[in-house]
């Protein structure tokens, strides 16, 4: 394992310090907790958004704390959902009196820990609600399983629900908007290489020089199946086909596209993927309203990509286009 770190046991704390040193204009850290909140938190009278999860997904989630997106982000150990006490502290620190919405990715651990924190905050009389993001179409939905995972589509929930809160909507309204995003967002990812949890010291799976893993999550877990590597366009087709079949999307629909890198993927390759995504959507008569290409929800140094489509209506378009100013997601608005 080669990493630019000092010690696997302190890497998350040191990262948090590095973030705060770099961007004090955006975030401050809660003493004793790996929690970043807006430098100006709490914002009085505004519904506050709190999200989080394991570390290793940077810039998620701390990179999305700021005007027009999250008020607080809670970081667990690498790939381990954060603990209720930290989430509870985040809720208290950002609550501006209008209630707090938790944006949770659908993993057993995240759901349980955020639920416990919600219970704790409610005992203090804070109005807390939550939405659970489950955009990953790789995993079949079923009442017998824990349901689908939350992956890169989560960033659209941060952006759009964040804009709703910024516009002064109530907690109920912000939640409704968040759930509308969730109902309309679908993603799927793949990996060319695995990643290594610092404390584990070795990759979570291995792939031969000609293999790739399809349907991966964002925690270095194995995916749904393994294949021989193929051309970028074919890979994009494979991911897109599952996504497009799921909702379904129809000719005339408008979507936002996110081509997300898994942490070690050069932007060059993400743009090559986007080229094909754009051309397939065009062929199908699906209009691309806006596109986001970059590393938004990563898995440490993994090489790979995920594709996300968000079906838009006028309300979602307006909120997607609202200004945001965070470390990793800046938008002048339009």
């Amino acid at each position: 394992m080669k990493k630019l770190i000092n010690d696997p046991n302190t890497v998350v704390e040191e990262m948090m310090e590095g973030i705060v040193q770099a961007y004090p204009q955006y975030v401050r850290k809660l003493e004793g907790f790996n929690v970043l909140v807006r430098a100006d938190a709490p914002v009085n009278g505004k519904v506050a958004l709190v999200s989080g999860g394991g570390s290793g997904h940077e810039p998620a989630h701390g990179g999305y704390v700021g005007k027009g997106m999250l008020d607080g982000a809670v970081a667990g150990a690498v790939f381990t959902s954060p603990t209720p006490d930290a989430i509870y502290e985040a809720i208290k620190a950002v609550n501006g009196g209008a209630g707090v919405l938790l944006v949770v990715k659908n993993y057993t651990g995240d759901v349980m820990n955020f639920d416990m924190a919600k219970e704790m905050a409610e005992m203090d009389g804070i109005k807390v609600d939550s939405v659970v993001v489950n955009d990953d179409v790789a995993v079949e939905n079923s009442t017998w399983t824990t349901g689908r995972r939350g992956i890169a589509g989560t960033v659209f929930v941060h952006k759009i629900a964040g804009a709703a809160a910024d516009k002064g909507m109530t907690l109920e309204e912000v939640k409704r908007v968040g759930e509308k995003v969730i109902a309309n967002v679908r993603s799927m990812g793949m990996a060319l290489t695995p990643c290594t949890v610092p404390a584990a010291g070795k990759p979570s799976f291995t792939l031969a020089e000609n293999e790739m893993e399809i349907g991966i999550g964002i925690h270095g877990e194995p995916g749904t199946h393994r294949e021989s590597v193929k051309a970028a366009d074919e890979i994009a087709d494979e991911l897109l086909n599952k996504i497009l079949a799921d909702l379904p999307y129809e000719s005339g629909d408008e979507v936002a596209v996110m081509v997300n890198g898994m942490g070690g993927t050069p932007l060059m390759e993400l743009f090559v993927i986007n080229r094909h995504v754009a051309s397939v959507l065009k062929e199908k008569g699906i209009k691309v309203y806006r596109t986001f290409v970059g590393e938004y929800m990563t898995s440490l140094e993994m090489q790979g990509a995920s594709i996300t489509l968000l079906k838009l209506d006028d309300e979602l378009k307006g909120l997607l286009d609202a200004p945001s100013d965070t470390i990793a997601f800046k938008d002048f608005g339009r």
Binding site: G109, A199, H219, E221, T224
Partner: protein, 211 residues
């Protein structure tokens, strides 16, 4: 035979030691069907628990177990943190104020703990989780207690049943937790949480057997 607070503390230490020794093993199991952190998570949690033990000396067993539970909740994270944390917290509530417990109390503890895990995780046996080790262990323990065969032996039977349950997880598909995303691909792999549950019971039994 009864167990006092000091022995409970020894048991906690024994669990911490066992989990530390099995940190890599548990993480390796988790890397096959999960996200390669279970051993790291459990070890981080029980390491923090160890630092709390000095302040717990002389406290009642309920307080000790509740503190362990709260510590796990606030340091483990992931799925196992709330689950094991809830288990210990419920166990502590079940014997609140007691300075000595017998096999019946331990049955109460065990039942409360498993109930807590089930409620928190909304899972049942057969879903390839820690419940697959704990539920058969509880059943064996209850049978043994009903037959009055003594605490140490009752715990040993629980450990055996947990081991069997843990091994059984290899044969089934995960429908809860992170391994459920693998579907069929989860078959053939042993569940890390069931394994840590087995190790935890084994560590406890070892202390009791040495008394």
């Amino acid at each position: 035979m009864t167990i006092n607070s000091a022995i409970v503390i020894d048991i906690i230490k024994s669990i911490a030691k066992t989990l530390a020794e099995n940190k890599e093993y548990l993480t390796e199991l988790d890397s096959a069907i999960g996200d390669a952190d279970h051993g790291i998570n459990m070890d981080r949690g029980f390491n923090t628990v160890l630092t709390k033990l000095p302040s717990l000396e002389g406290k009642d067993i309920g307080t000790i177990l509740k503190t362990v539970g709260m510590t796990l909740v606030s340091t483990v994270g992931g799925a196992s943190g709330p689950l094991y944390g809830t288990a210990f917290m419920r166990a502590g509530q079940a014997v609140a104020g007691k300075n000595e417990i017998d096999e019946k109390d331990i049955l109460t503890i065990f039942e409360a703990a498993l109930q807590g895990i089930k409620e928190r995780g909304k899972a049942v046996a057969g879903e390839k989780t820690m419940i697959d080790a704990l539920e058969p262990a509880l059943k064996s323990y209850r049978d043994a207690v009903d037959n009055n065969i003594g605490l140490a032996e009752a715990l040993n039977r629980a450990v055996d049943a947990a081991k069997e349950g843990m091994e059984y997880t290899k044969n089934i598909i995960a429908t809860k937790g992170r391994a459920s995303y693998l579907g069929e691909r989860s078959i053939g792999h042993q569940d890390p949480g069931a394994t840590s549950s087995y190790l935890l019971l084994q560590a406890a039994a070892r202390v009791v057997n040495s008394l």
